[in-house]
């Protein structure tokens, strides 16, 4: 490995409350703004960028546009000729793009890579968009002819918890309430101005309809348009950049650990396979523990913040015990004790997560990594967790099929 250390230089997130389809914008417009904003945020010299990696799930379905890497060459005349590529792993597309960028830097192929996660989703109504999302599962087996397949799959995750350990839906409501409350502190969060309280999250009715089983509207992340641009760099580049910014290199966050696993795509098989396991989703757990191990992190209590993939309240419920905040099946204890709240022992999703901040599918993993950067550099504004130095993020694709966990930290 030529460059073991991979640094995060910062980036930019678009406002996830925006409706780019209503603005009649092309998906490349969103990428362009994220790129432009990232240059303003970081002061990187565009001529230093050696490659662009794009995370996107379903541009072809939502907006009849593939080959997204190619648009990067339009953003600056200096980019004509640069290598670009697009990565897809359902909702984990963003993290996979970052993971590949990391590998390219470690291999010494490039020293500064622009990673963009992007998804334009509001082009489709909820039924059609829900059907598109079904392609992240085994479409023929799990989604064909089924309305809103993913809420159903993640409803089944809650059902499995209920079967194995018992699950009171009030804890799911509390997860929704916390994420919405956190989003109010995030100026780029989709739901920052939406009303929410515990009672609303509990009630079923006109404004909080049941999607499937225990999953109501407030248990779901919403359809979101958004893009995030982030830079990963080698130690040599990071040192040069730190000098330019008047910072010691030790203050620049880097990826200190990662884990990447794939489980069988079919949800029923995942559950059948884990029947005798301690964890409901052992491949998700493995991605986390692999990251712990690579980062030299003993357990979750070495972390200061977690940004997790709460596409549904049940997925955050799962993440709580899979990160090890509680014993398997006891996630409710961390919720009851306030552990995951912004001032708790280990805050989860101070950004609002997918439920509060939004979930533009291909952008989510990059957004989580950017939020890890912001927390570590003390630039998260009103959602800053004081003193955060080590931050983990979990980005999952499909029904926890592709699992990517990054841990970011600084050396001092």
């Amino acid at each position: 490995m030529k460059n073991e250390r991979v640094y995060i230089i910062g980036g930019y997130q678009t406002d996830f409350a925006r409706n780019w389809a209503k603005e009649r914008k092309h998906i490349a417009a969103m990428m362009r703004e994220a790129y432009q904003g990232s240059i303003e945020a970081t002061d990187i010299y565009p001529g230093d960028i050696k490659a662009a990696f794009i995370g996107n799930f379903a541009g072809e379905l939502y907006c009849m546009q593939g080959h997204l890497g190619a648009f990067f060459a339009d953003f600056d005349p200096r980019f004509v000729g640069l290598p670009t590529m697009r990565f897809e792993a359902a909702c984990a597309a963003g993290a996979i793009a970052a993971l590949s960028a990391m590998a390219h830097i470690q291999a010494g192929i490039h020293d500064l890579i622009c990673v963009i996660g992007v998804e334009l989703m509001k082009t489709a109504d909820s039924a059609k968009g829900g059907n598109y999302l079904g392609t992240a599962a085994w479409y023929e087996k799990e989604c064909f002819g089924i309305e809103y397949p993913f809420p159903k799959l993640f409803g089944k995750l809650g059902d499995e918890y209920d079967k194995r350990y018992g699950l009171d839906n009030k804890y799911l409501a509390r997860i929704a309430e916390i994420n919405y409350a956190n989003a109010k502190n995030n100026p780029n969060a989709q739901t920052r101005d939406w009303f929410m309280n515990f009672e609303h999250a509990c009630v079923k009715g006109k404004y909080n309809s049941v999607i499937s089983g225990r999953i109501k509207v407030t248990d779901c992340s919403q359809i979101t348009d958004g893009a995030v641009c982030l830079y990963l760099a080698s130690e040599d580049y990071a040192a040069k950049y730190a000098k330019q910014m008047g910072l010691p290199l030790e203050k620049v966050p880097r990826i200190i650990g990662w884990g990447h696993t794939t489980a069988p795509i079919e949800f029923a098989k995942k559950i059948a396979d884990s029947a005798n396991c301690e964890y409901v989703l052992p491949m998700t757990r493995k991605a986390i523990t692999d990251a712990y191990s690579r980062a030299g992190v003993k357990d979750c209590w070495d972390l200061d913040v977690i940004e997790t993939h709460d596409c549904f309240t049940t997925s955050e419920y799962m993440a709580i015990d899979h990160f090890g905040l509680t014993k398997p099946g006891e996630s409710f204890k961390a919720i009851e004790q306030g552990v995951i709240e912004p001032r708790g022992k280990l805050p989860i999703n101070p950004s609002g997560g997918l439920i509060g901040c939004g979930h533009p599918v291909g952008a989510t993993g990059v957004r989580q990594l950017l939020d890890a950067y912001k927390q570590i550099t003390g630039t998260a504004g009103d959602y800053q967790v004081p003193g955060a130095k080590t931050v983990a993020m979990l980005n999952i694709g499909g029904s926890a099929t592709t699992n990517v966990c990054f841990i970011a930290g600084i050396d001092d």
Binding site: R18, R24, H26, G37, W194, Y207
Partner: protein
């Protein structure tokens, strides 16, 4: 306890009374208060009116839960109890000085000494509203001007009179920002404050130009691609033509500046008001939606509706394409280099927007905050690209100065200084819409 001490705590306000809760601003701003955990009395002339207001607030919040924080009633039965209990009275009744004065007199007889009273008006002289009120009332009186609809427009202009205790204004500024999540803009006590003063001068000019170019073409030329979510005449349909005329009349009476000449109400607007073609509230105004879903447009000469002509102007289409691709500077470069009378109309309106906005820095907002206050109110109150961003899109102050000179606009001093703003093209992309 001194005022300074008593106004330090954001929790000071626990109960609010909204007067005029059947109307849009009253019900929806009251809804925001209920959403944020305050106990809110919704009062209007009738119980049913207040309950209708609550339904609007529920619809805005998309939750019936907020009803738990709301008590509906009418002035006759609940005013005394509600006012005597409340910490803040928000008045959002009809824009009529006499009616407001009469209600304030009743409020005064019940209010606690520290209760704050604010009006949501921006077009009526605040000092007239409080004529005859006590010193204590006047010390606690100010304007909190919400924009419509408050659930989507976060701007709130705030100002007191010369009688208002500055601690009350400071406290409310913080309260509106922190508890009600408003983008608070401190304005001076001048008629129409900042947002309406700027926007309605431009609206007025556009209604005049519509006599020549037609309604559909004017909204096409000054459409969303020029930096606004809604075209201007469609916006006036939302506002209501009667309200539009009242604001123009008020500006004509109370302002004297370089743009005063643009404050006219063309004859066809008066005709529309006579015919009750007031906009969305009467079902038709500049636009009328047919059963087929298609729109017909008012012909200012005939004062009747004519079918759509679907204008197509080459530079507009090219600029819209650049906007579609997120290339806003290129879109404005296209406008700038275009020739012909349509292009001149667009350039003239954009120039007027910048010139007038910058000329009011210091007059309607504090000069120490630069152009940012005006930027904020235009962005968060109207969903328009802020004037400083339009200037950036056109190529910066040097180019804009030249454009203004060519068109006979005075060059505002604040434009030459080069004022900073928190807005730039990158973070204002949402205001450029490709249609």
């Amino acid at each position: 306890m001194s005022n300074q001490e008593s106004y330090r705590d954001n929790e000071k306000i626990k109960t609010v009374v909204v007067l005029g809760a059947s109307g849009t601003i009253g019900s929806l701003s009251g809804g925001l208060m209920a959403q944020n955990g305050l106990k809110v009395y919704f009062l209007s002339r009738t119980q049913q009116g207040s309950e209708r207001g609550l339904q609007k607030a529920i619809s805005q919040a998309r939750s019936e839960m907020i009803a738990r924080n709301v008590i509906c009633g009418d002035y006759e039965h609940l005013l005394g109890q509600a006012i005597s209990e409340t910490d803040w009275v928000v008045e959002a009744i009809a824009e009529d000085v006499k009616i407001k004065q009469q209600l304030y007199e009743r409020v005064e007889s019940y209010r606690k000494p520290q209760t704050i009273v604010s009006s949501t008006t921006s077009s009526l002289p605040l000092n007239e509203l409080i004529e005859g009120r006590s010193e204590g009332f006047k010390k606690h009186f100010l304007s909190t001007h919400f924009f419509n609809p408050p659930g989507r427009m976060s701007a709130c202009e705030i100002t007191g009179t010369e009688f208002t205790d500055p601690n009350v204004v400071d406290f409310m500024r913080q309260f509106l920002k922190k508890r009600l999540r408003r983008a608070v803009i401190s304005v001076k006590n001048t008629v129409a404050f900042a947002g309406n003063r700027i926007a309605f001068v431009l609206f007025s000019r556009i209604t005049t130009l519509a006599s020549e170019f037609g309604v559909e073409t004017m909204d096409y030329l000054i459409g969303p691609y020029t930096g606004r979510l809604l075209p201007p005449l469609a916006t006036l349909d939302l506002v209501g033509l009667d309200i539009h005329k009242a604001i123009i009349d008020s500006l004509k009476t109370h302002t004297k500046d370089a743009m005063h000449r643009w404050l006219t109400t063309p004859g066809y607007i008066n005709m529309m008001i006579q015919k009750k073609l007031l906009g969305n509230k009467t079902g038709c105004g500049f636009y009328r939606k047919l059963e087929s879903g298609k729109f017909v447009f008012l012909d200012p000469v005939l004062c009747d509706y004519v079918p759509a002509i679907e204008p197509h102007v080459a530079f507009v289409e090219k600029a819209k394409h650049f906007t579609h691709m997120g290339m806003y500077k290129e879109a404005f470069e296209t406008i700038l280099t275009a020739q012909g009378k349509e292009a001149e109309v667009v350039k003239n309106i954009l120039c007027a927007y910048i010139a007038y906005s910058y000329s009011l820095v210091g007059e309607v907002t504090d000069s120490t905050t630069g152009v940012e206050g005006i930027d904020k109110v235009m962005a968060y109150g109207f969903n328009w690209a802020p004037p400083s961003v339009i200037m950036e899109a056109l190529g910066g102050s040097e180019i804009v100065t030249k454009l203004l000179k060519e068109r006979g606009f005075a060059i505002p001093q604040s434009l030459q200084i080069g004022l900073k703003s928190c807005f730039n093209i990158t973070n204002s992309g949402k205001y450029f819409v490709a249609k």
